[in-house]
């Protein structure tokens, strides 16, 4: 039996198809506004796995756009899906920290299940957006910021917690002649600090796993470790944990239903593009 997990983020859609092992995983753009391209990512994943849509026993959608895609059997929140995905990769996890482009989450996990969570989806300052804005302002590539920041010998403090003001502060520091790596180090510390404070509400317990696009940024990860006082774990593909978890949950639902002789509850799914009005 084949299962698919689809994580429709605000910028990127991630699809994972699996049976006993992962058969395909694709990351592609969600598409502006109407999430019109999410189904294209699904199609690409099916091509990679060499399967047709109907061969997928169960599709679980998660993420920001989960509600408006018509090709899922069920939609489950990214919180539950991340917990599942991260636990499958790191069975010792107790705290998951997901830092995406537009939001950040902390999830407390016990035995693979969510026991508590916190979210920031209102303020850009503790998310990938913060880094994007600054990268833009400084003419740097997002991917190189983390490495650059590690060269710092003398980290400066970026005191503004608001993205707009922080960006101004960065520009004026550089104009003053502060080495760029020191400013970047301060910036990475600022994000890490913001996220860490939010997750502290859950009473952080090891092992801590960091996921999401920002987990690829070594500067933020190191800064988080400094706050935690111990190393944190990062999966090889930090963008995929939501989709992996979604697929696994679909599998669990299906197998449970089969075992207990219940019918599998399916949605009226069609592989087509999402429309604006559901």
């Amino acid at each position: 039996m084949y299962f698919a997990g689809v994580d429709i983020g605000s910028t990127m859609t991630k699809v994972v198809i699996m049976d006993e092992a992962v058969l395909a995983c694709v990351i592609g753009p969600t598409g502006a506004e109407h999430r019109r391209l999410a189904n294209k990512v699904m199609e690409e994943a099916l091509r990679q796995a060499n399967l047709s849509f109907d061969e997928i026993s169960y599709v679980v959608a998660t993420g920001y756009g989960r509600i408006s895609v018509p090709f899922a059997d069920k939609q489950i929140t990214e919180i539950t899906c991340h917990a599942k995905g991260v636990s499958s990769l790191f069975p010792t996890v107790h705290t998951a920290i997901d830092i995406g482009g537009q939001d950040a989450k902390g999830i407390k996990i016990a035995d693979g299940r969510v026991v508590g969570f916190v979210m920031n989806d209102k303020c850009a300052a503790g998310t990938g957006r913060f880094l994007e804005v600054i990268a833009d302002d400084l003419g740097l590539r997002l991917e190189e910021m983390g490495e650059l920041s590690l060269n710092s010998k003398n980290r400066v403090e970026i005191s503004s917690t608001c993205t707009v003001f922080a960006a101004q502060e960065v520009v004026s520091r550089i104009a003053e002649g502060t080495p760029i790596e020191d400013v970047l180090a301060g910036l990475h510390e600022a994000i890490a600090s913001r996220v860490f404070r939010m997750v502290e509400r859950l009473k952080i317990e090891r092992d801590v796993v960091v996921t999401g696009g920002v987990a690829k940024n070594i500067g933020v990860v190191k800064a988080l470790e400094e706050h935690a006082g111990f190393p944190v774990l990062v999966p090889e593909e930090p963008l995929l944990t939501g989709a992996v978890g979604a697929a696994l949950l679909g599998k669990e639902l299906t197998l449970n239903a089969l075992e207990s002789g219940r019918p599998i509850e399916r949605g009226a799914r069609r592989l087509e593009e999402a429309t604006f009005f559901k």
Partner: protein, 448 residues
């Protein structure tokens, strides 16, 4: 139990943020503040954590060292070490809009509990362990809610009492007067009973009487000094000094030192006024701080505007209470305390009535800048919105609207918090203040 790193290891070295002061008296205050914390550890007397409740006299009379966590929060903010405490409190689920004094105070107790000892970055050695806590409803809700939550971290009995004030419209009615005085008195008596129980001894009423009467004299000196300074040209006592000098009145009332302090302050101001000694070399603009707690995190901002020729001649946030004389027939010290506070409310209300503001309900709430702008020859008013203080923020827009209607004075709103430095954007403040001064300059040139 959270596996978190010891917060002090991630601490930045605090910058100096406090203001340079102009008067001898203001410069003495830091020492008095330090003494409050040190005494609590060294004098071997029972310690109480107290909210500002206008009842300090009771603690002095019963030989208790009062420690004021809201002052501690201000001190932490000045040294820029408040935020680790705030973070700890918020980690427990307290909101970032709840009073930052409370967040610092609660975070302090939480970290103390977590670490098994007082965090080493706590200024002046921190707050010593109390045997009782006292709060009241005076001024705002946080003042009786905050300490109620301490039981999460410390096992110390807490007593809260009510202190209500009538609206100006009914404060004069004899029956209303009687109703309020009776209630406030009963509430104070409840506090005394609690203290007697905790301390295992009775109140020394003669001693209290002496202390209360000393306090009454102190209040008069405090009021006279501040009012004398406000009207003086040039200004001998700018707001940064004035904000500091409220400390003995709020937190040491009844002590001989407080009386001596305000006598000294009065003498100093009188001397300066008589000899036309001001502060800054050229007073281009006289400003009024018209509302909101000061930015304890960056009091230097007052020096910033002074560099541009502007001086805050008065602040109406911590207004001295002008007690009318309490009649001699009232001999019970608690009654004298209640009467004098009620009289202070009436006299405030009288001033509001004179301005045609009949029904203001601000008993020890916002000072009304309208009362001072003409007398103190003010060019402009600055007010401070605080994210975490409802008590001194609500009503500022109203005050501004009244100022515009009645006096045509320009008003500037600055926004931050009294302690939480995350809400403060210095570049923004500097730009706004400079622009405001340019406005005042333009008005001057236009002859308005």
């Amino acid at each position: 139990m959270s596996e978190q790193k010891n917060p002090e290891a991630t601490q930045e070295v605090p910058k100096r943020t406090s203001a340079k002061k102009w008067t001898e008296s203001a410069r003495k205050v830091r020492g008095l503040v330090r003494d409050m914390y040190v005494r609590a550890f060294t004098e071997g007397k029972p310690v109480a954590w107290v909210m500002f409740t206008l009842a300090n006299e009771l603690f002095v009379a019963m030989d208790v060292v009062p420690v004021y966590p809201e002052n501690f929060a201000g001190l932490c903010a000045t040294k820029r070490v408040g935020n680790p405490f705030i973070d700890r409190a918020e980690a427990d689920g307290f909101s970032n809009v709840s009073c930052s004094y409370a967040r610092i105070g609660l975070g302090y107790a939480a970290l103390w509990k977590d670490m098994g000892e007082i965090p080493s970055f706590a200024p002046d050695g921190g707050m010593a362990k109390p045997i009782m806590m006292v709060g009241s409803s005076l001024v705002c809700d946080t003042r009786y809610k905050w300490f109620q939550t301490y039981s999460r971290y410390m096992d110390v009995p807490y007593y809260a009492f009510d202190m209500l004030g009538p609206p100006a419209a009914t404060a004069y009615r004899p029956d209303v007067r009687e109703q309020y005085i009776k209630y406030n008195l009963a509430q104070l008596q409840g506090l005394v009973s609690f203290m007697e129980e905790r301390l295992g001894k009775k109140m020394d009423w003669d001693k209290l009487d002496e202390i209360v009467r000393r306090g009454e004299k102190t209040y008069v000196l405090w009021y006279d000094a501040y009012m004398l300074a406000g009207g003086a040209v040039p200004c001998p006592f700018p707001a940064e000094d004035s904000f500091n000098c409220f400390f003995p009145a709020f937190f040491m009332m009844g002590e001989v030192e407080a009386l001596d302090f305000y006598q000294g302050l009065y003498d100093e101001i009188k001397y300066k006024v008589d000899n036309k000694i001001g502060s800054i070399p050229e007073e281009k603009y006289r400003l009024l701080w018209g509302g909101g707690l000061p930015p304890w995190h960056t009091m230097q901002i007052f020096n910033y505007v002074e560099e541009q020729g502007a001086v805050f001649v008065f602040q109406s946030t911590y207004l001295p209470l002008r007690f009318a004389d309490v009649p001699d027939r009232i001999t019970d010290p608690l009654e004298r305390m209640v009467h004098s506070r009620y009289e202070a409310a009436i006299s405030r209300a009288e001033l509001d009535r004179k301005l045609g503001l009949f029904d203001l309900c601000n008993f020890v709430g916002l000072g009304n800048p309208l009362l001072f702008v003409d007398e103190f020859k003010v060019d402009g008013v600055v007010m401070h919105w605080l994210r975490s203080c409802r008590g001194t923020t609500i009503g500022q827009v109203y005050q501004k609207n009244l100022l515009e209607e009645r006096s045509n004075l320009p008003t500037l709103f600055l926004e931050s918090d009294m302690c939480d430095v995350r809400d403060y954007f210095e570049a923004d403040w500097k730009v706004k203040l400079s622009a405001f001064l340019e406005t005042l300059e333009a008005r001057k040139r236009a002859g308005s």
